[in-house]
């Protein structure tokens, strides 16, 4: 019996010839990612474990992103304390409040390579499976153990293989595909599993789109999402990642818990409705729902491809007078690229508000908080009650094109109607 790509990575990282699903292994971590709001607890846990210094100051990446720049005295204090820790621990890769969302920064700066074992003190660390890594989110005490020892225990996950074929219709995006999948699998349908994406649609999909898919596997409970690395992966990483690049692939006779097939040729734009991510409907079933705010950004959909899709709708149009449109590029690189491409002008002329790269409105601690009774259509990854402000507000999730079209009309709208 062969091994899945996840089993191969965990076998290598745990120094074993082979591992199989269900086994508990202790494995060496290649990269540890720490964002602002979980950093203090993580470093505190390390010290309480009796270790004064991180195991490897070159393998720890710290990013201030959730409340960037600080919006309160508490947040400012956390940021100040993290800067002191970074200095004390001589952490080589530190990105301050000007960098962007940790997952976008980690990818752009080439910290993740195929075959790596990546842990992050943020649940959306699964994003990095887009590069053929085994990447998963952990809490602060687990991160403390990693900082102290460089190692962590993992239960080798069973894998679900998702085969996707067909060409995505115009203005239908990877976001629509992952929402469709989550609607089918359910919020806990992949708990403790690795979700592998494969098929002709995935082969033809950009790195940006693959990141969107892997980003949201946590919303069906998965431990990680993964796309086998290919030439696209290597092309993205050349010039970003240091050292040699090697690919890793699963065996043909690897064992899967489930195999699901999707054909996207006729896929309609999808919308996740309040207050659960798996409450997914085709846009035609929720069209006409009034919105107060549209948010385009986040680690799910704040990249160039996303902003280009939104701009293609907004160019020459104006945001509805009753709607606030927030556009938040996921990183400084995306911000600069979209500036060069004229996209920030498009958004601003259309009546949108471009904010600084950060987690922004996704997380509800900072920019774009919702009042009771308000409705937001967001391109981010969670629509939990209270996620973006008042527990009496509602959040719908959709693609950047759907968000842009809805911002123009003031109601949830199929972007294909504004083509």
């Amino acid at each position: 019996m062969g091994m899945t790509i996840s089993e191969k990575i965990l076998a290598r990282a745990s120094g074993s010839e082979r591992v199989q699903a269900g086994e508990i292994v202790k494995a060496r971590v290649d990269v540890a990612l720490i964002p602002d709001l979980t950093a203090i607890l993580s470093f505190k846990a390390m010290k309480e474990m009796g270790l004064d210094h991180v195991w490897d100051s070159e393998r720890v990446v710290v990013v201030l992103d959730h409340v960037a720049p600080a919006s309160s005295i508490n947040a400012a204090t956390i940021h100040r304390d993290i800067r002191l820790i970074v200095e004390e621990q001589r952490i080589k890769h530190f990105y301050d409040v000007d960098a962007g969302v940790c997952h976008q920064v980690l990818a752009e700066k080439g910290h993740v390579k195929p075959g790596m074992l990546v842990v992050g003190a943020d649940s959306h660390t699964c994003t990095h499976g887009a590069f053929g890594a085994f990447a998963t989110g952990v809490g602060s005490t687990d991160m403390g153990a990693v900082l102290a020892t460089g190692k962590l225990w993992f239960k080798v996950p069973e894998a679900i293989r998702i085969v996707v074929d067909g060409a995505l219709p115009e203005l239908v995006a990877p976001k629509d595909l992952i929402l469709r999948i989550i609607g089918e699998v359910g919020a806990d349908g992949a708990t403790y599993n690795a979700v592998e994406f494969t098929g002709s649609t995935i082969e033809a999909m950009s790195i940006s789109g693959r990141m969107t898919l892997c980003n949201m596997v946590i919303e069906m409970g998965a431990k990680t999402g993964v796309v086998e690395p290919d030439e696209r992966t290597l092309t993205y990483l050349r010039g970003r990642a240091e050292g040699s690049l090697e690919t890793v692939k699963g065996d043909i006779d690897a064992k899967y818990k489930r195999v699901l097939h999707f054909d996207v040729a006729d896929l309609e734009p999808q919308v996740s409705c309040p207050h659960k991510v798996d409450n997914v409907r085709p846009v035609s079933e929720v069209e006409g729902t009034r919105i107060d705010q549209a948010f385009i950004g986040s680690c799910t959909n704040g990249r160039m491809e996303d902003l280009e899709a939104a701009a293609s709708i907004l160019r020459g149009r104006h945001v509805h007078p009753d709607v606030r449109l927030l556009v938040i590029p996921a990183s400084r690189e995306v911000y600069l690229d979209s500036m060069d491409a004229g996209l920030l002008k498009v958004f601003t002329e259309a009546g949108g508000l471009v904010c600084n790269p950060s987690c922004g409105a996704c997380f509800g601690g900072h920019i774009g908080i919702l009042a009771p009774g308000e409705v937001c259509l967001a391109t981010s990854n969670r629509n939990f009650r209270g996620r973006q402000g008042s527990p009496d507000a509602e959040v719908y999730l959709a693609s950047p094109a759907t968000a842009a079209a809805s911002a123009v009309t003031g109601v949830i709208t199929d972007p294909q109607e504004l083509r």
Partner: protein, 168 residues
Amino acid sequence: MIEMKLRGRVWKFGDDLNTDLIIPGKYLELTDPKEMAIHAMEGVDSNFAERVSPGDIVVGGRNFGCGSSREQAPLALKYAGVGAVVAESHARIFYRNAINIGLPALECPGVTDAVYAGDILEIDTTRGVIENTSTGIQLRFTLLPVFIGKILNEGGLVAYLRKHIDEW
């Protein structure tokens, strides 16, 4: 296996109770668990933190603790006084986080139908049995894997590693 007997009053919640509901994002700027505890379950029950008593047991449905990796969620529950979280199933990161801070997180299929809010439960972690003393109904829960039981038995991963870092 760990030896622990727990007894407490039930607070009952539904399926997919996410960590944003257990502690909303705006409180993640807090670093003192006692301050987090003031906001425990604020997203679903604003009276919870005030009315929960030491040792009380949170009973959840499927996928308890889904969403964000914030360890502030189990910390808020623990410091509010919660003695254990028993659910039909737990989301992966919450489950690890709870064990790591020494808060028993148990999976007990059927628990939702067998208990009501306010019932008194007795949990025998050695035998894997939960008794609802209000109704006499007994339920079996999935025993923790030995290695995970050891972490919990030591009071969490910090205490475990202080003792066993050489074996890690």
